[in-house]
Structures are given as C-alpha cells and as structure tokens.
Symmetry: C2
Subunit: 145 residues, 2 copies
DNA sequence: CACGTGATAGGAATGGTTCTTATCTAGGAG
DNA sequence: CTCCTAGATAAGAACCATTCCTATCACGTG
C-alpha cells in the first residue's frame, strides 16, 4: 500500500485532493507502516502543521469524515472516550488491545470469522458493513500501579 | 438476577445505597430483562425522574461511574459517538450489532472465545479484564434509505 | 487560463460531561 | 432510637472536543 494508490482511489471518487488532505493521508499511512497505535484528530493536526502550519482542527475533522464516508479511513472508539482514526488497508486487517490504565492501543492480528458468521445468521436482514473487536486490560506497566 | 442480589453486592463494597442509585440500578435491570438496547445517561435520568423528579444528570453520571468501577455496569461506545450503559450480569454475556443508519443496537448472543485466546497468546503480559465485539451494518429499514 | 464549486481558516457556538459549592442523608456508633 | 460524619446530592457554572458559520481561497474542469 503506497500513497499513490490511495490518491488515485480518491481521484476516482471525485473528492478534491488538496495538499492538506494529501498530508493527512500521508500521516495516517506513515503511522500504519510503523505499526503504531491509531491517531486522534489533534495528533493528526499537529503532524500536518509541520508542513501546513495554518491547518485547523476543523479541516482535519472534515477531511477525516470525508475519508471515512469514502471507506479510506476507519474511526475507532474505545472506553476512555477518546476518538481516533486509522487507515483502512486492503489485505491487512486487525483488531485492538487497549490498556485501561494508560489508554495505549496495540494491534491484534487475528479476526474471529465465526463471530461475524454468527451475526449474519442471527440477523439475516442486516447488511453487514464492518466490525470491530476490542480486548481491554492492563499493560505490564499499569499492572504495577 | 434480581435487584436484591445487586443491592447486597453493593452493600458489601461499602458504597452508599441511596434511593437514587437503587432506582438507577432498577432501571438498568428492567432494560436487561426486557432484552432491549443499552441506555444512555439522559434516558436513565428521565426514567429515574419518574420516581425522583429532582435527580440531576450529574448524579446519574457519577453513579454510573461508581458502578462501572465496581464492575456492576459496563459502558459502551459505538461509532456514532454515543455513550451508553448496561448492567453486567453473571451467566449472561453478549455482544452488539449496531445500525449505522439509525444507531439502534441489538444483542448478539455469541462470543468468539478464539479471539480472546489469541489476544492472550499475543500479549501474555497483559492482564485481560474485558472485551467487546461489535458488528456494524444497516438494518432493513435503513437499507431502503 | 479563467471560472465555479467545493475546501479552508478562524472564531463563535454547541452539547455532552464534569467540576464546584453548599446542603443533605445513609448508615454506623453510641 | 438519635447523633454524627463521610460521602452523596442539586444546581449552575465550567470545560472541552467537535461542529457550525462566514468570508476567502484554490483545485482541477472546461
């Protein structure tokens, strides 16, 4: 997955490809390639401001909403109330392990196919689009308290 | 699971058992018994006000936070930003199907044990406390748009 | 290369949640 | 049963992440 692929996808959709938006996507891609935790809107803004100092939080939120609608970005919600975002990548799929102490997020590279199957059987009239599985606990550092 | 069990559990913890708190728990229990979707703070407040008209939203939030810390209540977050609460019940365990259109929540009475197992294997140093699995899609009504 | 439409910046507004303060009360001690 | 006090409550103010508003700007179509 490279930035070019994402940008050409965007072109097809007719969504305008401003430099700010390219930078937002680049930041998300970089984070994905590093395997790090998802970013929240403010973190994204701070990163983007390195190149485009004038960028507003509102712009970041609006762009992320647009990308989410387009299926390029996924929004995540954990129990600490924080909202964060990650790139949707073809061929790669993961879930999350969240520390209830420090809020740090780690990826789980496993997907329970049986669960989705069960949901489909239970509610055949539903058009299933997506799913998310999250495990909560305490990381080694937070266990010591 | 009856209200008495919950209340006696609370007594053991030393948490004060005010009538408002009893009513909040009763409302949550009623919802659980009906098998309905989880409630948000405002819905709970409105129900509680039938008996205790003076109850404030703040009281509801504080009580729910206390119950959550005590493991009596679970807080849920879905992608529409809404925050809601449900009773934690022994012997019963479920996950959720959420409509991306209207936000309505339905229970899925199935749990992917393999997923939790995998998380444990992946991160043996983590102390796993809880997990949640959510499927997103469009309900029959919202599919028509 | 000019034009129109959709995007942006900045500041103001919003709304859910939490804090503050004064008052009250549940429940243990006497 | 009555008193006492730590902890709970109500009301309104404060908070803060997110969204709205409006004037301005610029992407990329034609």
């Amino acid at each position: 997955m490279v930035l070019g692929e994402i940008l050409s996808h965007l072109k097809k959709t007719g969504i305008r490809l401003t430099p700010q938006r390219q930078e937002i996507l680049r930041v998300l891609l970089e984070r994905f390639q590093q395997g790090g935790p998802p970013l929240n809107a403010e973190e994204i803004m701070l990163q983007v401001r390195r190149c485009y100092p004038g960028v507003s939080l509102d712009t970041v939120y609006r762009s992320l909403a647009t990308f989410t609608k387009e299926g390029l970005v996924r929004e995540l919600q954990f129990r600490d109330q924080s909202r964060c975002f990650e790139l949707v990548t073809k061929g790669e799929h993961h879930h999350h392990l969240v520390c209830l102490g420090c809020g740090k997020v780690r990826p789980i590279h496993y997907c329970p196919a049986d669960f989705i199957e069960q949901a489909r059987e239970c509610y055949p009239d539903f058009e299933i689009e997506d799913h998310s599985c999250t495990v909560y606990g305490y990381c080694p550092k937070c266990r010591e308290e």
